[in-house]
Structures are given as structure tokens and as C-alpha cells.
Symmetry: C2
Subunit: 409 residues, 2 copies
Amino acid sequence: MSGQLEKWLVRRLLDSVGGPPVAIELWSGERVHVLPQGSEPIAVVQLKDRRALFELMQKPEKSFGELFTEGRLNVEGDLVATLEAIDVAIQKAIRESGPVARLMRKAMEKRPRVNSLAGSQENIHSHYDLGNEFYGLWLDRDYMQYTCGYYPHESVTLEEAQIAKLELVCRKLDLKPGERVVEAGSGWGGLARYMARHYGASVRSYNISKEQVAYARERAEREGLGNLVEYVEDDYRNISGSYDIFVSVGMLEHVGLANYPTLGSVIDRCLKDRGRGFVHSIGRNVSRPMNEWIESYIFPGAYPPTLKEMMDIFEPFEFVIMDVENLRSHYARTLTHWLDRFERNVDRVREMFDDSFVQAWRLYLSGSISAFTQGQLQLFQVLFQRQGADILPITRDRMLMAPAPAAGG
Amino acid sequence: MSGQLEKWLVRRLLDSVGGPPVAIELWSGERVHVLPQGSEPIAVVQLKDRRALFELMQKPEKSFGELFTEGRLNVEGDLVATLEAIDVAIQKAIRESGPVARLMRKAMEKRPRVNSLAGSQENIHSHYDLGNEFYGLWLDRDYMQYTCGYYPHESVTLEEAQIAKLELVCRKLDLKPGERVVEAGSGWGGLARYMARHYGASVRSYNISKEQVAYARERAEREGLGNLVEYVEDDYRNISGSYDIFVSVGMLEHVGLANYPTLGSVIDRCLKDRGRGFVHSIGRNVSRPMNEWIESYIFPGAYPPTLKEMMDIFEPFEFVIMDVENLRSHYARTLTHWLDRFERNVDRVREMFDDSFVQAWRLYLSGSISAFTQGQLQLFQVLFQRQGADILPITRDRMLMAPAPAAGG
């Protein structure tokens, strides 16, 4: 049995996140919401014990994930829709709060950990070495892309969207046969294989995840691309050689703000005089650390930068930004496909790990869909070249991945 | 007769700007260059008196323009090619200099003046109120665009390029019939008329140049667009009302870094919840003041920002950057067309003003061609929307201004 105090606390909690259209069900079975009379909640968040409420009050962002993972908080209703509704309410509350409240919020947010060479290795292992079989259950079959796909049409499949993304990257770079490419962060080696197979490029790709490198090497050999692609198990800071193109898809999130000038100097060192480059990364419209729960349990050391922050890679070395595209809606679709496949294989995932892993991964994918849909997270593709190197075509015609629509106006 | 000292000084001067492939001819008729034996200079820079050399040594950037304007420095050879060759040499020298030399160079560069409301008016008048007839001699006939055009093909005329630019802006914004647009900086009113005529939009456009506003109003009335466009003679800081779209083409250069948060707050104030916006501006890849001569004589108070600096408009108000395109090569082409028309009408310009005006304008247009070709100046088009406003299409298909090329790869 829960008393008046608990119900008052729940109302305060709901008010503090902008009064989202959800009810909270206490361990006693009593339900509380702060909606106007006549409105129905779209979901019920069940708290299984009294402590859960107090944890949630103290650190809402982090505790929600912890409690959900431990099975002490359950969502009755569609998880993605519930998280989106909560996000919308919070964003509205922030917008309507004064500048002082916003500053306090900022001050409360802690910064992510520093990425030293050794620390980076540890951070990356915990996520990317979960096993190739696990990722194979829900990523695209052909290229194992654990990054945002590109959807030229509504009806595109995950496999098609990832191939379209790889093709888009090559077209943006205006990649030519025989060119030498260096890649920072290989994933499972998909982009390097695509560039070699479809463009005849020769690619050297750096990655610090042992499992991914082993997979990438084996697959390139099997597909007869071993003479064109080389996977190096090493940190991006140790890149050597001289290249026409620098490319990095989905690594910057793990680099850390403090290392951006270093990354810039690596690009500057390895790029030829008429070289060009491309960086694809999750980002922000406002400077803010990663969600605390995700940073603690899913992506230690991760930080999505704003465009302003990203410029610390390029401006000190006089690189010229030619093109920036924000693909955040494409990431929401990609994640929706991933979540769908994850759920279809959830029994196998539970066998491989356990219940709490399933819950954690479910929340991470669902929360990310919400963040990309609501616009708190961005996906920036940045194309650049050296000052004076006028090597890229002056229009975007080459980038078009679908028939042109009828002329507007 | 000039002595050994002068010739030694000329060699030092040439060395200090990276040894460009030009000869300097002294008032005595003697020629000096620092090219290797067997190399021929592509142009001869004639100095008409001894003082010219000393002025050039003290303040090369500013004095070159002053001496050229006064007829005390003459370029025998193609002016654009000469300026490009000098730019290339200087850039190479900077690249090859150490970080200390680069820092000293930075410290020596002075900042542009502050743009108060009154100061802005003065700065703008000196340039934009030179007379509509003058600009009519060399800008495009249809829309009097004093900003970068868009060249979908090599063979496009200036008139076609400016119409393509206006169309590109509307397509990027996904402008719909009946939408309300506010424009900061009208020029001669061309974009507002285009949006009204071809998209049925209703546009309120702010401008502080009296002559431009008078021209824009008269022309809109004459073309029967008076019911859809309204030109307000006032500063962008005084914008009022509520709009679907904010647009500004070629005004940011005159706003001044310190006023970027103010500009952001104006956009935030006037844009509806699901609003979107567009800013088109000359920019830089590296933070650096305007060329000193241009800042002193052509564009007082002008400052081209880097992308990082531009983000101070958007990030404090949580706007989401959706698309950035760098059109610098298109500006080099636009300027080449302008210079060509200017030269064809140079006798009329001389009648309206005088010789030194002709020289100043010739140098300004030629130097700008060089800067956009060499990549010291950029042209950024930035498309943004509010966080949570998912109103823009998720692909760039609508932006394509030419038939798609054959698929790559």
C-alpha cells in the first residue's frame, strides 16, 4: 500500500518532465497521471518497488535505464511512442523554462570521460566486441553497417538503404578508380569492400576492435578483395602514408572533443595536396553530453558534437567545408529496422546474453529512434577538401540517388 | 635612376610574398624578379615613383589597392591572372611557414569596426547607394542580384545563373504557395519578387538602403506584385511579425560577429514553431578579417565568417542545421561575368565617377575572382529548421537543378 506522499512525489516527477501523456502505476497498483480531465494516457509506466521511485526522482535519465534493465520499471504500451512522448514533453518544458533553469541544467550535466589511447581501446571493446554473431542478427546482411543508412524512398529495405549510403559516400567524394583511400574506423569493413569492389579504389582501414578486424579481413579475402583492401588493427592516431581521400563513418562519436585537433592533424598529415575527405557522425544541434544512461552502459566515452565543435577538426588546418547534410530522419528509419530485426531475434539474443541485456538493448534502440525523430540527435555528413584544391565537381548532380522530381514553382 | 638598395628591397618584397611569377618595374624602367633562370614572369607590376615602393613594403595588402587606384601602380598583363598568381604564392608561403609565423600574422590582423544601428546605415550607404544605374550596368537584367549565382552548366548566362540561384533557394526551403516569408536584406528586391511570382508566397523584406528600397517598391508595383511583397526600410533587428520562413541572402557579411546572437534571437522571435530558414553568405575556411584594402575602401564593416563562427547564430536557439553547400566556384564565375560587363561599360562608369573609381572597382572584382578561385573565400548556403519541426523533405531530390548524370561506380 502506498500513501499520499508517494502519489504527490509521482505528480511532482511527472510535472518536472513537462507532464507527458503517461500514467505511473505504483507497486500497490494505484495509477497516477497529471493529464487534464478526459485525456487518456498513451502508456503506463509500472514501478515495481518503492525504491524505484526514489531512484527515479534523484537521477531520472540514468535511473530510467537502470530500472528498465533490471525489470523494476516496465512500460505497458509501445516503448518507442512512450519515449517519444516523454521526449516531446521534456523539450517543451525546457523551451518554456527561463534561461536560468536552462543554465542550471547545463551545469548539472557532467562531461564524458577522456579518451586516451588505452582508454579508447577499453571503451570500444565493451561495445564492438559483443560478438559478430550478435550484430549479424539485426544489421544488414551484405555490409554489416552499424551506422545510419540512406533512404531514397519510403519502401527501401535495410539492405538497400545501407548500399545506398555506401554509394552516397563514394559519390560525394567523387571517388575514382585506382585512388588511394585511408579510413579511420572500419566497423566490419563494409565501406572499404564497397569502395574496392565498385570503384576499384585501394583502401587502408584502421580499427581498434580485434573482433571486427578479424571479421573484415576474413570476408575481404573470401570475396577476392584482399589485394585492394588492408585492415590495420591500430588507432587512427597512428595512421601513416599518403592518400587521395580520408574517410571516417561513425568513428567521430568515440574520438572525444579534446582530440579533434589531433584528428585534424592526422588528416592534414596523411592527405595529398589535392586531397579530399569525408566525416560521418552523430551530432547535436546544442552542445550537451550523451544521455547519462547510454554513456554509462552502452557507449562509454561517446560524445556527439555540434557542427561548431566539429569545426575544430577542420579550421585549424584550413580545410574547406564543401557540403554538410543532416540525415537524422534516415537514422530514425535505420534504427526502426534494427529494432524490428532485434525483436524478431530476441530469443536468440536472450540465449547469448540475458534478460537485462535484452532490456538494455531494447531501450537503447527505442530511445535513439525517439532522439533522432524529435531532433535532439543529428547525423552530419561533412565533405571537405584542401584550400586551393579545386578537385570536386561544382554541383551536387553526382550525389542524386533517385530520379529528379518535377520542377518546382 | 634607382640604386642597388631599391632593387634589394624589391627582391625582399617579392620573397616575402612567396616569389610570385611577376616582375616589378621601377620608375627608372629597370625590372626585378626572383624567378629561377629561364622562367618568364606572367606580368609586370609597374611602380611609378619611389614612395610607392616604400608604401608597398609597409602595408602590402592595403597599399596595393591604394596605389592601383591612384594610378601609381600599374599591372601590365591580365589583372585576374596576376592576382591569382600572387595569391597562390602567398598561400604557399603561409603553408610552408612555421606555426609561430602564422600566429604573428594572425596577431597583426586588425578586427573590423563594430556595427551599431547608426554605423550599419553609414556602412551600407557608402556601398549600396552608389546609384541603381551603376549596378544596372553590370548586374543581371531581370533580378539585379548582387550575390553569387548558380551555374548548373558551363554555358549558363549571368541572367540564367541568377534565376537558377533564386530557384535553388526556394527549392532548398521547400517553399509552398501562400507561405509567409520574412527577408533580412532585400538588395533590389529580386528574391522577394521571385518568391511571390513563382511560388505565390507573401514576402516582407527589410533593407536599410533607401535607394534599393525605392527601386524594389517601384519595380514590384510595375510587375503587379505589390499585393504580395512589402519592402520595409528598416534594420533586420527591428523585424516584427510571425513567419513560416526566414531568409537572408548576402546580408550576413555586414552583420558583424558580435551581432550573431542578436540575429539568432531575431530569427527565433519571428519564426513559427514549424518554421525553417536559410542564410547565404560569403565566408572563410579560417577566421581572418576582410582584406584590409577592401574593408577600408569597398565594404566598410564587412566580415566573412567561418562556419564555426556562423554557428553562433543557430546553436544558442537550438536551430537544427539541415544542409550546407559551399558555392565558391559559382561565385568566381559570377564575378567573371560581372567584371566582363563592367569592362564593356567602363566608359560610362568613368563618366559617372572618375578614373580612380574605375580602378578601385576593377581591382575589387578581379581580386574577388582570385580569392574565390583560390579558396580563401567561400560562399556558404545554410538551411535550418527548428528542433522538432520535421517539415523539410528528407532527401535533396527537390534541389536538383539539372538532369541526373549517369550513375557512378
